[in-house]
C-alpha cells in the first residue's frame, strides 16, 4: 500500500469577527492510499468541501501539512501548486464549471495543451477516446449550452482525466443531476477507479457513497468516523444492501 495523499494536524479557520476565529477544520488526520475510492459525508457546514479543497492544494490551511506522494505540498508556491493540479490531479464539481466560451472538445483538451506533456495530436486522440467511452463523442464540436447536465458532467470528467491524474477529486459531482444520470456517472467513476485512479468525493448522497470503499464522516469540522465498506466493483450486485447498511450507519452517527 502506497500513501498518495496525507493530511497531518490540518486546521483551518476563518476570521469573520475580530478575535473570534471560526474553525472549519479541526486537527484533521487523513491518509489516502493509492487506488482507493473514498467518500466524505456529513451535514451541511461540517467542513467536507473545505477539507477537499485544502488537501487538493486549492485552499491554504491555517496550520498543519498536506503531503502528496510524500512531498509536502502545503509549502508549495502558487506556481508549483498549479502545475500539480494540472498534471497530477483532476477535479469535478457540482456546478460542472466548464468554460463558457469554448466548445466541448476545447474544454477537454485545454489543460492537456497547457501541460504540454504530449503532442497536440496525441491529446486530441485521447480526448476523442475518452469522449467515446463516456458516450458523448457526437457533442465534440458543440457549445456547452447545447448539452444536458448529465452530458456536461461527463465532459467535466473527460477534462479531469485528460492528463491521466493520480487523484480525482469530486465535490458533489452528482448533486445537480437526476437519479438516472447519477447512476451513470457513478458507474463511470467506479470504472475509472477500477482502472487505478484514486478518487476522493464529497457527497450527501448515500447512493454515491455506497460505490466507494471507505466512507469518512465529518461533523463540525472534525473527522468523527472512518469506515471501510469493501470494494464495490467486486460487490456490484449488492448495491442495495450496501446502501441500506450505509444509511443505517449514518442514522447511528446522527446524520
Amino acid at each position: 500500500m502506497v500513501t498518495i495523499l496525507e493530511a497531518r494536524n490540518l486546521n483551518k479557520s476563518y476570521t469573520t469577527l475580530p478575535d473570534k476565529p471560526h474553525s472549519i477544520l479541526k486537527d484533521i488526520h487523513l491518509q489516502l492510499q493509492k487506488g482507493e475510492f473514498v467518500s466524505i459525508m456529513g451535514p451541511s457546514g461540517s467542513g467536507k468541501s473545505t477539507l477537499l479543497y485544502t488537501i487538493s492544494g486549492m485552499d491554504q490551511a491555517s496550520s498543519g501539512s498536506v503531503y502528496f506522494s510524500g512531498r509536502e505540498i502545503s509549502a508549495f508556491p502558487e506556481q508549483a501548486l498549479a502545475q500539480l493540479r494540472l498534471t497530477k490531479m483532476g477535479f469535478i464539481f457540482q456546478h460542472i464549471h466548464l468554460l463558457k466560451n469554448l466548445n466541448i472538445l476545447d474544454n477537454i483538451v485545454l489543460s492537456a495543451y497547457m501541460a504540454k506533456s504530449s503532442s497536440r495530436e496525441a491529446v486530441n486522440r485521447r480526448a476523442l477516446t475518452l469522449m467515446q467511452k463516456m458516450g458523448i463523442e457526437e457533442l465534440a464540436h458543440h457549445n456547452i449550452t447545447e448539452a444536458s447536465g448529465g452530458q456536461l458532467q461527463r465532459v467535466a470528467i473527460c477534462r479531469a482525466l485528460i492528463n491521466n491524474p493520480e487523484v480525482l477529486f469530486g465535490d458533489e459531482p452528482t448533486g445537480a443531476l437526476n437519479s438516472r444520470s447519477t447512476n451513470e456517472i457513478m458507474d463511470i467513476l467506479a470504472d475509472i477507479n477500477a482502472a487505478g485512479t484514486t478518487i476522493l468525493l464529497v457527497t450527501h448522497d448515500v447512493k454515491v457513497a455506497a460505490r466507494s470503499e471507505r466512507v469518512l464522516f465529518m461533523m463540525d469540522g472534525e473527522l468523527v468516523a472512518d469506515r471501510p465498506i469493501g470494494n464495490y466493483v467486486k460487490d456490484k450486485d449488492n448495491l442495495k444492501v450496501r446502501e441500506s447498511l450505509l444509511s443505517k450507519w449514518l442514522v447511528d452517527m446522527g446524520f
Partner: protein, 777 residues
C-alpha cells in the same frame, strides 16, 4: 430603499462610479467653459471695438502721401462718417531693446504712433484711452506677455548714434493689431517723442482710416477706394477682418475645448453603457426574480435609471459650477487682450443650456440602454444568465484545430472574437488615442520637413534675400541684383518683385492683387494644377486666390497693366500659406507704382559655406533679411512649430492618460465579471502567469486593432482635417510627411507598453481571489 441601493452600488463599484462622475463632470465643465468663452468673446470684441472706435476700413501705405487729396475724396463720399491719416514710424526690430536683447529676431513689424484724436483709440488695460507724457511709452500687451514687462520698465531705441530711452507707462490694447497672429504692433508715444523718432530713425508708413455711416456698405466702399487714385502701397484691412482675427486665437481655443468635451462625453456614454450592462448582467438573477414576482419592467428600469440620472445631474451641476472658476483661466488671455465684457447673465445662461444638453444626452442614453430590460424574460434570465451583449457567439475558431497559439494567447484571442461587442469601448478609446497622438505628430513632422517650403509659394533655393519697402529700395534692389550677378560663387539667381496690380472682379470693379513677377523657371515650384506662367499673358494664382476669385486653370482674368486692360490666362494654381495665402505669379514687368517687396533667390557653388555667404550679404545690404530656406521656414513658421510641439506633447499626455484610465477600469470590470471563469482555469491548473498572458493578449489585440484603425484614420481623415484647417491659410493639398519610426514604431510601442503595464496593474486582484470560494458558490 432607493438611497440604500445606490449607496451599496456605489460602494461595490467605487472606481467606475468615480470615473464616470469625473468624465461627465469634465465634459460639462469644458462645454460650459467653451460656450461661455465664445459668448464672452463676442461681448469683449464688441466692447473693445466700441471703446476704441475701431476704423471700418484701413489702407496701409508706405510712401508719399497727399492728405488734401484724401480729405477731398472723403468729403465727397456718401458713406464716410469720419476719416483720418495716422502716421506711423516703423522701427527695425534690431533697433528696439525691450530688455537686454534687441528684437532683431522678432517677426513683428514695430510701429510708433501718437494717440489718435477722433477714433481708432489705443486703450490701456482698463480699456481707457491712453495718454502718454514725454519720456513715456505705452507698449502692446503682446510684448508685456512675451517679454514679461511691467509698468516703470525702460525700453530703448538705438539707431547708429541716435539713442532714446522711454519709460513704460501703460500697456496697449489695440483693437486693430491685438492678436499675436497679426505681425504689426503699435507703440504709443507723445507728440514730441514721435517727432524726435521721425527725425532720427525708422521709416514712415501711413494708415488711412475710415469710419463709415453704414457697415453694410463696406465692400462697396472698398471697391470705390480701390478704383480711386488714392494711395495704396500696402495691404488693406477692414472691419470684418479685425473681427475675425481678434476672434481667431481664443475662438480656436474655445472650439478645441468644446471638441474635447464632446469626445469625453462619448467616452462617458460608452463607459455608462459598459457599466450598466455589466451591472445588469451581475444582477440578472435579482432582475428576473423581480420580474417573476410581478414588478413591471418600467419600475425596475426606474431603479437602475435613477442612480445614473442622479449621478449625471450631480456631475453636470458640479461641472457647471466648476466652469466659473476654470473659465477664468481659459479666458485670461482674452481678458488681457480685450478686457472684460460688461456683466450679463446671457453667457452663463447659454452655458447652463449647453450643460443641460450634455446631461440630457447622458440620460437619454441610459434610457436607451435600459430598454433591453423589456427583452429579459424571467425564465430566460434565470436559465441562461446572459443578456445579449456578452453572449458567446458561436464560431469555428477552436483550440482543437489551432496549431499556432499557446493556450493563454488562444483564450485571449477567442475572448475578443467571442465578446467583440463588449470591447467596443476599449477599441474606441484606443482609436481616439492613437488618432490624437499621430495626427499632431504627422503634422509637426510635415511642417518641419524642408519640403514644406512648397506650401509657401516659394521654389527651393540656397539663399533668399528679402528687401522691404523703403524710400531708396529701388536703388538698393538694383545694387543687390548687380552684386549677385557679379558674385562668382553664385550659380543661379532669380530676382522676384512683388507689386500690386488691379484685377477686375465679378462685380466689374477693381480689386488689388499682389503679383510676384520674374522668371519662375529658375527655382521651380510644385503646382497643384497647371504649370508656372511662361508667357506674358499667363498668370498663376495661389490656391486661396483661385478659390476666392473662382478661377481655375484655363480660365482668364482681366489685369490692369500700365493702365490698360490685359486678358491673362490662368496657367496654374499653387499653394501658399504666406501673406494671407493670397498671392499670384506672372512674367510681367512689375508695377513700379505699387511695389510691396523685392526678393532675390540664389544658389551658390558646391563648397561655398552658406552661413558665411549669408552674413556677407547681411552686412552689405542691411537691413535686408538674408536667410537660407530653413531659416526662412523657421522665421515664418517658428512660432507655429513651437506651439505645435506643445500641442503634440499635450495630445500625447492626454491620450496616454485616457488610455491608462479606461484600460484600468475596463480590465478591473472584466476580471470581476470573469471571476468564475478565472477560478475554473485556476482549478484545472492554470498558473497566474497564464491568466495574465491571456488578459495582456486581450488588451494587445484590442490595442492593435485600435492602432491600425487609428493610424488609417489619421492618415485619411486626419490629413483631411489638417488640410481643411490649412486650406484656410492657403495650402489645400497637405500630404503628411510621415516619420515612420515615430508614427509606426515609437507611438505604437509607447501605447503598447503603457497598456501592458496598466493591464498587469489592473488584474492584480486575480491573485487575491480564492478559487475554492468562487468554485463552491
Amino acid at each position: 430603499m432607493l438611497a440604500r441601493m445606490m449607496k451599496n452600488d456605489f460602494l461595490r463599484k467605487k472606481a467606475m462610479t468615480v470615473t464616470l462622475f469625473i468624465f461627465i463632470l469634465l465634459s460639462s465643465l469644458l462645454v460650459s467653459s467653451g460656450t461661455k468663452m465664445i459668448m464672452d468673446l463676442t461681448g469683449s470684441i464688441h466692447n473693445l471695438f466700441t471703446a476704441s472706435k475701431i476704423p471700418h476700413f484701413v489702407q496701409m501705405h508706405a510712401g508719399e502721401l497727399n492728405r488734401e487729396q484724401i480729405n477731398n475724396w472723403a468729403k465727397g463720399n456718401e458713406w464716410v462718417e469720419n476719416h483720418q491719416v495716422v502716421e506711423m514710424i516703423n522701427i527695425d526690430g534690431s533697433n528696439l531693446y525691450l530688455g537686454a536683447e534687441s528684437e532683431k529676431n522678432s517677426i513683428m513689424d514695430i510701429g510708433f504712433v501718437v494717440q489718435n484724436q477722433d477714433f481708432d483709440f489705443l486703450l490701456n488695460l482698463n480699456s481707457e484711452v491712453i495718454q502718454v507724457r514725454d519720456g513715456q511709452v505705452a507698449v502692446p500687451v503682446y510684448y508685456m506677455q512675451q517679454n514679461d514687462l511691467k509698468i516703470g520698465d525702460k525700453i530703448r531705441i538705438k539707431d547708429g548714434g541716435f539713442s532714446k530711452e522711454l519709460t513704460i507707462s501703460d500697456f496697449v490694447r489695440d483693437a486693430q493689431m491685438n492678436p499675436s497672429i497679426i505681425h504689426s504692433k503699435r507703440f504709443v508715444v507723445s507728440e514730441s517723442e514721435f517727432r524726435s523718432l521721425k527725425q532720427n530713425t525708422g521709416e514712415a508708413e501711413y494708415l488711412i482710416e475710415f469710419r463709415l455711416t453704414d457697415l453694410g456698405a463696406l465692400s462697396a466702399f472698398s471697391n470705390q477706394y480701390q478704383a480711386s487714385d488714392l494711395p495704396k502701397k500696402g495691404p488693406m484691412v477692414d472691419y470684418s477682418l479685425f473681427r475675425m482675427l481678434n476672434a481667431l486665437t481664443d475662438g480656436v481655443v474655445a472650439a478645441v475645448i468644446i471638441l474635447v468635451s464632446l469626445i469625453l462625453n462619448v467616452i462617458a456614454i460608452l463607459c455608462i453603457r459598459f457599466t450598466m450592462l455589466a451591472t445588469i448582467e451581475e444582477d440578472y438573477r435579482e432582475i428576473s426574480v423581480m420580474k417573476a414576482i410581478g414588478i413591471s419592467p418600467k419600475d425596475i428600469r426606474k431603479l437602475y435609471l435613477s442612480k445614473y440620472v442622479m449621478m449625471a445631474a450631480l456631475a453636470s451641476g458640479a461641472g457647471y459650477i466648476g466652469s466659473f472658476a476654470v473659465s477664468r483661466f481659459f479666458m485670461s488671455n482674452m481678458v488681457l487682450y480685450m478686457g472684460t465684457a460688461p456683466n450679463s447673465l446671457l453667457p452663463s445662461a447659454v452655458a447652463l443650456l449647453s450643460v443641460g444638453i450634455i446631461f440630457a444626452v447622458v440620460v437619454f442614453f441610459c434610457i436607451h440602454v435600459l430598454r433591453r430590460f423589456n427583452k429579459i424574460s424571467a425564465v430566460e434570465a434565470l436559465r441562461s444568465g446572459s443578456l445579449g451583449d456578452t453572449k458567446i457567439s458561436r464560431n469555428r475558431f477552436s483550440l482543437f484545430n489551432n496549431r499556432w497559439f499557446s493556450v493563454p494567447v488562444f483564450l485571449g484571442l477567442k475572448d475578443v472574437i467571442g465578446r467583440f461587442k463588449m470591447f467596443r469601448l476599449l477599441l474606441f478609446v484606443f482609436i481616439v488615442s492613437s488618432f490624437i497622438i499621430i495626427v499632431p505628430l504627422n503634422f509637426l513632422n510635415t511642417i518641419q520637413a524642408p519640403s514644406f517650403i512648397s506650401y509657401m509659394g516659394v521654389g527651393q533655393s540656397d539663399i533668399r534675400i528679402d528687401l522691404r519697402h523703403s524710400d531708396d529700395v529701388e536703388d538698393r534692389f538694383k545694387q543687390l541684383v548687380d552684386h549677385v550677378k557679379a558674385d562668382a560663387d553664385v550659380t543661379r539667381f532669380s530676382p522676384l518683385v512683388t507689386s500690386q496690380f488691379k484685377v477686375l472682379n465679378h462685380e466689374g470693379t477693381l480689386d488689388n492683387l499682389s503679383v510676384e513677377t520674374g522668371d519662375f523657371t529658375i527655382f521651380p515650384l510644385d503646382y497643384t494644377e497647371g504649370t508656372a506662367p511662361r508667357k506674358g499673358n499667363e498668370l498663376a494664382l495661389s490656391y486661396k486666390n483661385s478659390q476666392e476669385m473662382d478661377k481655375r486653370t484655363g480660365d482668364s482674368v482681366i489685369l490692369i497693366v500700365d493702365g490698360k486692360e490685359k486678358r491673362m490666362k490662368i496657367s496654374g494654381v499653387y499653394q501658399d500659406v504666406t501673406n494671407g495665402g493670397k498671392t499670384a505669379k506672372a512674367v510681367l514687368p512689375y508695377n513700379k507704382e505699387a511695389v510691396l517687396w523685392y526678393v532675390v533667390s540664389l544658389n551658390v557653388k558646391a563648397g561655398t559655406v552658406i552661413t558665411d555667404k549669408i552674413s556677407a550679404y547681411e552686412q552689405a545690404f542691411y537691413p535686408a533679411k538674408v536667410t537660407d530656406l530653413q531659416g526662412y521656414l523657421h522665421q515664418t513658421l517658428g512660432g507655429t512649430i513651437n506651439q505645435l510641439k506643445l500641442v503634440t506633447i499635450l495630445a500625447l499626455v492626454i491620450a496616454l492618460s485616457v488610455s491608462i484610465l479606461i484600460t484600468f477600469l475596463f480590465l478591473k470590470m472584466l476580471v470581476a465579471k470573469d471571476n468564475s471563469q478565472i477560478a475554473i482555469l485556476r482549478s484545472v491548473g492554470f498558473a497566474l502567469s497564464g491568466i495574465r498572458i491571456q488578459y495582456v493578449t486581450i488588451s494587445l489585440i484590442v490595442l492593435g486593432a485600435g492602432l491600425i484603425l487609428g493610424t488609417l484614420l489619421s492618415n485619411t481623415a486626419g490629413q483631411l482635417l489638417i488640410g481643411g484647417i490649412m486650406s484656410f491659410l492657403g495650402a489645400s493639398n497637405i500630404t503628411f510627411i510621415i516619420d515612420p519610426v515615430q508614427a509606426y514604431i515609437l507611438s505604437p510601442v509607447l501605447l503598447a507598453v503603457t497598456v501592458i503595464l496598466t493591464t498587469l496593474a489592473s488584474i492584480q486582484s486575480i491573485k487575491a481571489s480564492s478559487i475554492s470560494k468562487t468554485i463552491a458558490e
